[in-house]
């Protein structure tokens, strides 16, 4: 096999494609479509994933979460944890389910001076940094309860066998449901820690500690030290939470891949059909080539060249279409009820994957028909007209 022959086979492939413009176009389209599906779904998938990870991190504002089922961690523990090397910050909160006028919410009670820890976006009013029986609720809840800033609501907490109730003033209304609260299907309510401790009769105690680590590589080390300082606690690292969410997203991804696989199958069948037709039409030509001394690899090259060209064009076209298409998929997903915006950025991995798969599948599906014709004896090829 020499360079000039490669040039020749390239010419032959291009001319054969231009003779059968429609057929080649449709085959390329099938390949492009499958690549586009893969790229679009993958791009959107990666977008969702990165958004989820970002949001989880933003919500937690911490790298390690220490939790107890009951409100039983002394606040002193928070101070101890702060002394551990690499710990940048730590905050102890009470995190319990509660009811506001019959509506289930998740109450997060934060020390008054640390109310800003969770980066809540206040639309009206302010964070109750001075303490007192005050609440921050989101606009959705405010709307459905029909309350405004300064209104009073009754909040009840069922803690074990106890049922406690108290009136709280709405100090601020935050931006509508956050990403995570939607994702988890819950509503968060923020209150100063002291009144909630009083209400539960758990002064000086908390059940959640959020820990921020200055060096992300030391998270495991910090977690180990905490385990020593406070052996009974359940320690969750941020990435563990992300892993759980990721697992859900993986299932979604798997389904998207199934859709992609169908596209790829269609492309493979298309390529196979095109090559089979191309071979059938040119069987006598193959006979001629063989009689004048073309070797098996020559014949193979002539046909595989056509497939490679179609795969390349289809792949490139598919990448472009896929990237554009990902914006449409995003709109579609959002219209289906996803309530957050998905960032669309080019995902090199999706491009490479789509392109490689398209080319590989095209070549693989062409191998069998080409192999069959390569093996045919020149006499037999010549007999077919």
């Amino acid at each position: 096999m020499n360079r000039v022959f490669l040039k020749f086979s390239l010419k032959m492939a291009l001319r054969s494609m231009s003779i059968h413009k429609v057929r080649s176009f449709l085959t390329i389209l099938a390949i492009a479509w499958s690549v586009a599906t893969l790229v679009a779904l993958r791009t959107v998938g990666v977008g969702i994933r990165s958004r989820v990870e970002e949001e989880v991190g933003r919500f937690l504002q911490s790298d390690i979460l220490i939790m107890e089922r009951s409100v039983s961690i002394p606040e002193q523990v928070v101070k101890d944890i702060k002394e551990i090397p690499y710990v940048e910050d730590a905050i102890g909160v009470i995190f319990v389910p509660a009811k506001i006028q019959g509506r289930g919410v998740d109450l997060v009670a934060v020390p008054a001076n640390r109310m800003d820890f969770f980066l809540v976006n206040i639309l009206s009013g302010k964070l109750p940094v001075e303490g007192g029986y005050k609440l921050v609720i989101d606009t959705d809840l405010a709307y459905s309860l029909g309350v405004l800033n300064g209104s009073y609501v009754k909040m009840s907490i069922d803690y074990g066998t106890l049922h406690m109730e108290h009136t709280f003033e709405i100090a601020g209304i935050s931006e509508g449901k956050t990403f995570l609260s939607r994702f988890l299907g819950t509503t968060f309510v923020l209150a100063p820690l002291k009144p909630v401790q009083e209400m539960l009769d758990k002064e000086g105690l908390i059940n959640y500690i959020f820990v921020k680590v200055s060096d992300k590589n030391q998270i495991d080390y910090v977690a180990r030290v905490i385990k020593k300082v406070y052996p009974g606690a359940t320690i969750i690292k941020e990435k563990d939470i992300v892993v759980v969410i990721t697992r859900v997203l993986n299932i979604v991804d798997g389904m998207l891949m199934a859709v992609t696989a169908i596209g790829l199958l269609v492309a493979a069948v298309g390529v196979m059909n095109t090559i089979m037709m191309s071979i059938r039409e040119r069987i006598r030509e193959i006979g001629i080539l063989k009689t004048i001394g073309a070797k098996d690899e020559h014949i193979f090259t002539i046909f595989i060249m056509e497939v490679i060209i179609m795969g390349l064009i289809g792949g490139i076209l598919g990448m472009i279409l896929g990237y554009i298409g990902s914006f449409f998929v995003k709109e579609l997903v959002i219209s289906l009820g996803l309530t957050f915006d998905i960032p669309i950025t080019p995902v090199p991995e999706a491009f490479i994957l789509g392109f490689t798969i398209a080319l590989t599948i095209s070549i693989l599906s062409a191998l069998y028909p080409i192999y069959r014709v390569v093996k045919i004896r020149p006499m037999e090829a010549l007999r077919i007209e």
């Binding site: 022959f5 032959m12 001319r15 003779i19 040119r282 001629i288 009689t291 001394g293 070797k295 020149p378």
Partner: protein, 297 residues
Amino acid sequence: MSEPVIKLKNITKIYTSGKGIEVKALDNVNLTVYEGEIVIIMGPSGSGKTTLLNIIGTLDKPTNGRIILDGIDVTHLPEKKLYNIRLEKIGFVFQFFNLVSTLTALENVMLPMILLGKVSEREAREKAEELLKIVGLGDKLHSRPIQMSGGQQQRVAIARSLANDPSIVLMDEPTGSVDVISEAVILRLIQILNKYMGTTFVIVTHNPEVSLIGHRIVYIRGGKIYETKEIPKINLENALDEKSIVRMQLYFLKRELERIMRSYKRGLLTREDYQYEVNRIKKKLKRIARILGEEIE
């Protein structure tokens, strides 16, 4: 005697059909083809002539016997080596659809050279151009097969068969699907190539016109050679060259003129008749002059 190019020794080919019935396509065929020969293989349909050609061309293997091409016993060569034998030693021309449809005439002729890979692309191109000029298609270099007539395609196929200077060119009904004029052109071309390039041809045909250009006709029937006829060499060009023909004509015209003048002197011809005869001879002389490329009054 020149060197033998093809030697077939006791070639037998038996085809076995699906039901186990054996058909003897060739039965103990012995044939030697010498360098520079045009051998015509004739016979009725199904007589085994195409099988014979395919066996010579290494496209088919004999059941028994040996084939020696150019001194190489190719009978049991593996397919991989046969490719090169075909490339270097054999040129093929079939009845129709000889060309690769996606390549131009020039590229079709270049193809065997490129497959062999011994010459550069430029050299292959130059040689292909020359070969196409020889077959009279210097103006069709960049035409695709679909843009050419059957006869033209056939001539491209002939040019291609010569690309690697083969020892033999095998033709299966080369004029089988072209018109009469193309046939004449192709046959003349074969003669010219044979005479000036020394190419050896083995041509399978059942067209008697084709057989006229051969040096030897091998009749085959029922898989057996039953007659080999040497065609006497009539070299028209040497036997009757231009000068002698003109000389002969002039000689006879002179005799005729003398005869007319004699008759006129004896009063056997009227003046009108005499004038008429002289004019007739003048006309003939003018024609000869034209042949010689001169103008006379």
